[in-house]
Amino acid sequence: MIRVEGLSAALPQGQALRDVSLSVARGERLGLVGESGSGKSMLGLALMGMVPDAAQLSGRIALDGQDMTGATEAAWQPLRARKVAMIFQEPMTALDPLVRIGETVMEPLILHLKMRRRDARARALDLLAETGLTEPEAKMRQYPHQLSGGQRQRVLIALALACDPGVLIADEPTTALDAQIALRITDLLVRLSRDRGMALIFISHDLAAVARATERLAVMYGGDLVETGATAEVLANPRHPYTQGLIAARPRPDPAMIRKRLPVIPGTVPTLGDLPRGCRFAGRCAAELPRCAGTRPAPWPTASGQAACHLLEPAP
């Protein structure tokens, strides 16, 4: 459905993505995790053709067999919503405050699918009901400020689903929501992906949500894809030191942990301008080798995917 080969994104302040290769099959649910600044949102935007103007892309992007490498805004525009759709982190501000919910969801139906208003209205109602929005009929006539964050995220999901896209990219869709609502939205996305055979790229830094929602996992750090594999496998048996650190550092409701300090990855994520030339994780890695900072590790096969680390290099 989506194939990315050697994708790099250069921003004026540094490289946001370096040589990322990744593919997502029809109906597959992929988790994309990493700290802020790891490049996961940039990758999501690249798949929508919506990287900032200042970003210089190189590498290949293919959507549903169509090569979108270097495609213009005009070439991307008809694919958005129809082939690939995206929802964002902040549902509170992601809806036009002056447009009623119904009109918002009807807009792509009328514009892209050339539906008549009456049909679009009926379809919008179905979509809102499908996302589990309560009293969708009444909500159609309301404005965004009359809805809660969770309700707005459901509206945004309905909007994203309007033209039945093959892929939905969800960029931290639950980060701004309460834990309870976040769980429901995560489950909703999984259900919609299954029901519609729609691929889901679930971008998050919440490993629990990713474990719940996805089959395959891609871990990013400093613009590199450091490890991929089956979600359960990667979480149970992480091979890259960064993935290991990320899993160790996640908060757990474990009584034995309560009085202890949360393990953390030492250091902070370097800014784009000071990323090491070799492995991006060099300098923070506990198992660092002399060559790590200078030489970029190749991806080596693991049980269900790949990890880019010099430690995994087979002995000569």
Partner: protein, 315 residues
């Protein structure tokens, strides 16, 4: 919704009341005796006293205010000291010309500026944006009276397309319209420059918001995003400025009418001041204030029409 309107309407009435008190007080405090200016400095003290009594100037201020305000409510603004005719009649004769100027200039501004501002915002940083910014900077920098003179030199003197000034009267509608073209343009250019800039910056502000990204991710064409989502959200600051601009245009007519020798309210105001015709000045100031307050009231109504969040409007 209804409560909001009632509150605003009450505010409207109270503001006008306050304005009338202030105008009256300022006019009463001004030096200069109307009786003296009517009768001349040769008049005897007895004659002056009689004239003051005839004009009602010997009554205490509150009583004079009450008489004036009650009269104004009925459309009776007293008798002009200088022209010796009812002030109401003087104003009514000239109001259509000034209103045509002001409304015409406002209309031209509304046609020109939002489109230019949106076009500039859409091409942010590009040559189109620069062109609009440079032209609008010039428009803002050039005073309206100087712009008027340039327009007269070009279109009246050099090209001879339009009259350089004067007004033939409304009984010759075509000639009247031709006489209004240059003054309307002179008034509108400055305001268009201001409004185009405000539109541009308001639109750029909105274009950074999350819902614009949502609209883009929904595959909406750029043009539709601009006009359907960005412009409506930029309207609050735009409408605010339009309200202030209408006030600026109305007061701007004073200068423009002088430059183009148009017999409107602005010229009447200057003449009345020159003649110490305080009762006419008083009525005119009240009228200008009423026009400004009305414009602000309309702006408040526009806010409500634009933004559902302001009144918690339900379905």
């Amino acid at each position: 919704m209804t409560r909001f309107l009632i509150r605003r309407a009450a505010g409207f009435v109270l503001t006008l009341l306050a304005v009338s008190v202030v105008v009256f007080a300022v006019m009463s405090m001004l030096p200069g005796d109307p009786a003296l200016s009517i009768l001349g400095i040769e008049a005897s003290p007895e004659a002056l006293a009689a004239m003051r009594s005839q004009l009602g100037l010997d009554a205490p201020a509150p009583a004079r205010y009450a008489a004036w305000a009650l009269g104004a409510l009925k459309g009776d603004f007293g008798t002009s000291y200088a022209f010796r005719v009812p002030v109401g009649g003087l104003i009514a004769e000239r109001l259509p010309l000034t209103l045509s100027l002001a409304l015409g200039a406002m209309a031209v501004t509304l046609v020109l500026a939002p489109g230019l501002g949106m076009a500039a915002a859409a091409r942010h940083g590009g040559p189109g944006d620069w062109a609009v910014m440079v032209l609008s900077q010039i428009g803002i920098a050039v005073p309206a009276f100087w712009m008027s003179i340039l327009l007269i030199l070009l279109f009246a003197v050099r090209l001879g397309w339009l009259p350089s000034g004067g007004f033939p009267g409304w009984d010759q509608p075509l000639a009247a319209l031709r006489a209004l073209v240059l003054p309307v343009i002179a008034l509108a250019l400055v305001q268009s420059a201001v409004l185009a800039r405000v539109t541009r910056s308001a639109a750029l502000e909105v274009m950074r918001l999350d819902f614009v990204r949502t609209a883009r991710a929904t595959g909406l064409p750029r043009r539709r995003i601009l006009w359907r989502h960005v412009l409506p959200n930029a309207l609050i600051p735009i409408v605010t400025i339009i309200g202030m601009q209408f006030a600026a245009i109305v007061t701007g007519t004073v200068v423009i009418e002088s430059v183009f020798s148009l017999p409107g309210l602005g010229r009447l105001l200057l003449q009345s001041i020159a003649n110490r015709d305080l009762i006419t000045v008083q009525a005119l100031v009240l009228l200008f204030a009423a026009i400004v307050v009305t414009a602000n009231f309309l702006v408040d109504l526009a806010y409500v029409a634009i933004d559902p969040r302001l009144t918690g409007r339900q379905s």
